[in-house]
């Protein structure tokens, strides 16, 4: 796992190693173990390395035998041994044991069709000097990031936006629409980002840059060819896929650890990792001092069950507030929740414990319909078939027992769900969440709101849906929306890659093996969500490896304290500084008067609802983003050539 960056010019006017050095320096946290450059007249690549496979021989950028194909790559190709064998049989000569080299030889052999053969999480750029083209590509589900910008005929890319800004040739300004989309979807919808003119390469997509033009094409499409019945050997198939997926993700030349949340999914991955690990597994968890968020009891049980050496990152309100600015520096996008912050602390604990790679349960809720949202859409449809049935409506109460335990819901509360859009709306499943998230927009400054014009973010999402979407069941439609609007742009990014890589830790996600996805997507939805029992088939299968209490446990949404973190007695000074009328006016997104009312409610402890919690986190994060990236972007001294593990130049490619 690493960081990549580069510049591609329209004409051979040169790429300075100093610019590449600055880009690499800005993302050094992704690759503290080494760095390297390729410098040409038209193309320059930078690479910072987190060494995990072939520690001695895996430095980058890397070329093929004659130096005509150059790659800079971030990620893991889990099936690299199998691909290597196939390529060697076809006459390719490998110089390293590293998965990187599979890319250059595979590209020579298969061109862009190589992508169909890769099983992994990756983002890379390949410069083909024979055709004078650059290929950029990203994995199927968007685990690894890749951003790009085009200015005055030049093309810039990087694992993080800050790498593009660091070269000094791309100006930073916030993208109004990217900001606005955050306050509906929780993140800008790719390819849009929070920065104007900087795009995110969409998952499952590649781009070919030739003669100054970028041609984008999708090589992998999500599909849900739902079967009428489960195959007779469904448990055996799932068993084989799970074991294989975890087995491939244990491939590393360093110890692989595991995150344990206390829920079903990470318990499965930790259990399988412990079985496959040659040494005692190291596991890591988040504990909250606030019992409403804490799952320590279950985490300890899992750690004991798998026999791991367990470590805990203890999170308090104060630690969330103290590190929120650092978290924003890494997310590079506004947030509506503080949930990434504990993940940042967890990665630091992992790194400090000497572990560079962790398995997590990410992806299982999307594949096996684990989120409450999936139950919610089923119940809403069920209710709307007989709107007068109170018995049906009472099912909604079972979805959110935390709220109902206060005895404060009733018919009125249920109406919120029942009136949130028509079942004929293709976004029916997500409308309650989208509408609730969009309440933060009520705090916009009038000028910002008018600057947005008549943009209909939901209409744009509806228009972007593929034709096959309309042939899927409502639950599969919901799963698709979850994968495309939340998993990649938010969960795998702000809560995933960015928090882990801030500390040089690589997350691996067995549930996001594409064969496992395809298996789950072809199951009857009833195998995944049976009544109100989520991840049904996964529980059935997991009964052979997990304790009953964990296997039967109802999903607890992962959350962290929001507003109270920033308004306690130890609140850091920056909170007040960024909430002054002057500061808000300078950034121009939120109304000082509205935020004044919001802050008053937060300070009084009255801001307990989603709207105000999302709004205050949105305000603080937008203010911080502007402060850190627009008002005073950090400058980076370039990484010096003399310290590089690899220094390739166009005129004299040298393998070091």
């Amino acid at each position: 796992m690493c960081g990549i960056a580069g510049i591609v010019r329209r004409h051979p006017t040169g790429v300075s190693v100093e610019s590449l050095g600055k880009m690499a320096a800005s993302i050094r946290h992704r690759g503290p173990d080494g760095y390297g450059f390729y410098v040409g007249q038209r193309v320059g690549f930078a690479h910072v390395r987190l060494s995990i496979v072939d520690i001695a021989g895996g430095a980058q950028p890397l070329t093929n035998e004659d130096g005509q194909v150059v790659v800079t790559y971030n990620g893991e190709i889990y099936n690299h041994p199998e691909l290597r064998r196939e390529l060697e049989e076809r006459g390719h000569v490998f110089r390293t044991r590293c998965d990187t080299e599979v890319l250059v030889h595979g590209y020579e052999e298969w061109g862009v069709n190589l992508l169909d053969r890769l099983n992994g999480q990756f983002a890379f750029a390949i410069y083909d000097r024979n055709t004078d083209t650059v290929l950029i590509a990203r994995d199927r589900f968007g685990v690894r990031p890749l951003f790009y910008a085009q200015r005055k005929g030049a093309f810039y890319f990087g694992s993080e936006i800050k790498a593009i800004l660091a070269c000094g040739e791309v100006e930073a300004s916030l993208d109004r629409r990217g900001i606005d989309e955050t306050f509906t979807f929780w993140a800008p919808r790719p390819p849009r980002t929070a920065f104007a003119g900087i795009a995110s390469l969409e998952p499952g997509t590649y781009g070919i840059l030739k003669d100054g033009a970028l041609w984008l094409r999708r090589y992998y499409e999500l599909d849900y060819p739902e079967a009428g019945e489960e195959p007779a050997d469904v448990i055996e198939q799932l068993d084989e896929l799970m074991l294989r997926s975890v087995g491939m993700r244990m491939r590393a030349d360093v110890a692989v650890g595991a995150y344990v949340s206390g829920g079903l999914d990470s318990s499965i991955t930790a259990s399988l990792a412990a079985s496959a690990s040659p040494q005692t597994l190291r596991s890591f968890s988040i504990a909250f001092d606030d019992p409403r968020f804490d799952e320590s009891d279950f985490q300890r049980e899992i750690a004991g069950n798998v026999g791991s050496i367990h470590a805990v990152a203890a999170i308090t309100h104060d630690s969330i507030a103290a590190t929120f600015p650092d978290v924003l520096w890494h997310t590079e996008t506004p947030l509506v929740r503080t949930a990434p912050v504990p993940m940042y602390h967890l990665a630091k604990l992992t790194k400090d414990s000497g572990i560079k790679v962790v398995l997590t349960g990410e992806g299982a809720d999307e594949l096996f319909l684990g989120y409450d949202l999936f139950k919610e859409v089923s119940v809403r449809r069920f209710c709307l078939r007989q709107p007068a049935s109170l018995g049906r409506q009472r099912l909604l109460d079972r979805l959110y027992p935390e709220l109902m335990s206060q005895g404060r819901g009733g018919e009125f509360w249920r109406r919120f769900f029942l009136e949130a859009g028509s079942p004929s709306d293709p976004l029916f499943s997500h409308l309650p969440r989208f509408m609730l998230s969009a309440r933060a927009r009520e705090f916009y400054a009038p000028e910002f709101k008018s600057g947005l014009g008549e943009i209909d973010v939901l209409g744009e999402l509806r228009a972007s849906l593929p034709a096959r979407y309309f042939g899927w069941s409502s639950l599969n439609q919901a799963a698709y929306l979850e994968m495309t609007t939340l998993l990649s742009p938010y969960l795998l990014s702000s809560q995933g890659d960015r928090m882990a890589m801030a500390h040089g830790v690589e997350g691996r996600f067995p549930f996001l093996d594409h064969r496992l996805f395809e298996f789950a997507a072809a199951l009857p939805t009833g195998s995944r969500l049976r009544g109100l029992r989520e991840k049904e088939i996964l529980r059935r299968w997991a009964s052979r490896i997990l304790p009953p209490r964990i296997k039967q446990r109802r999903k607890q949404p992962y959350r962290a304290p929001d507003s109270p973190s920033f308004f306690g007695p130890n609140a850091p000074e920056w909170v007040g500084d960024h909430l002054t009328a002057d500061s808000l006016r300078r950034v121009g997104v939120f109304s000082p008067a509205s935020v004044d009312g919001l802050v008053r409610r937060c300070r009084s402890g009255l801001a307990t609802g989603f709207r105000e919690n999302q709004a205050i986190i949105g305000v603080l994060s937008t203010q911080l983003l502007h402060h850190q990236f627009i008002e005073r972007i950090a400058t980076h001294a370039p990484l010096p050539v003399r310290g590089a593990s690899v220094m390739l130049s166009e005129t004299a490619p040298a393998f070091t």
Partner: protein, 81 residues
């Protein structure tokens, strides 16, 4: 009037020119969401000394300012009787 002030100070403070009629549906107008309903019911109970049973938390009783006023009056009358 107390309910209107409460609603304006707590749920409409971010809207400077929001006109809310007595019969406007609070849910339709986006004044409250699923969580703020709880907050509003708690306020009504605390402020007026009434208790809303679960079956009384309905659109008719809490869906508008007029509905809340009617509900409070009826509950207080019942208590006084």
């Amino acid at each position: 009037m107390q309910v209107r002030t409460f609603v304006q100070e707590n749920f409409l403070y971010m809207h400077s020119n929001f006109h809310l009629a007595d019969d406007d549906r609070l849910l339709d107008k986006g004044v409250i969401d699923s969580m703020s309903i709880v907050e509003m019911i708690s306020f009504v109970e605390r402020e007026f000394g009434v208790h809303a049973m679960e079956e009384e938390i309905s659109d008719a009783n809490f869906g508008s300012l007029a509905g809340i006023a009617r509900f409070v009056t009826e509950k207080q009358s019942a208590l006084a009787a």
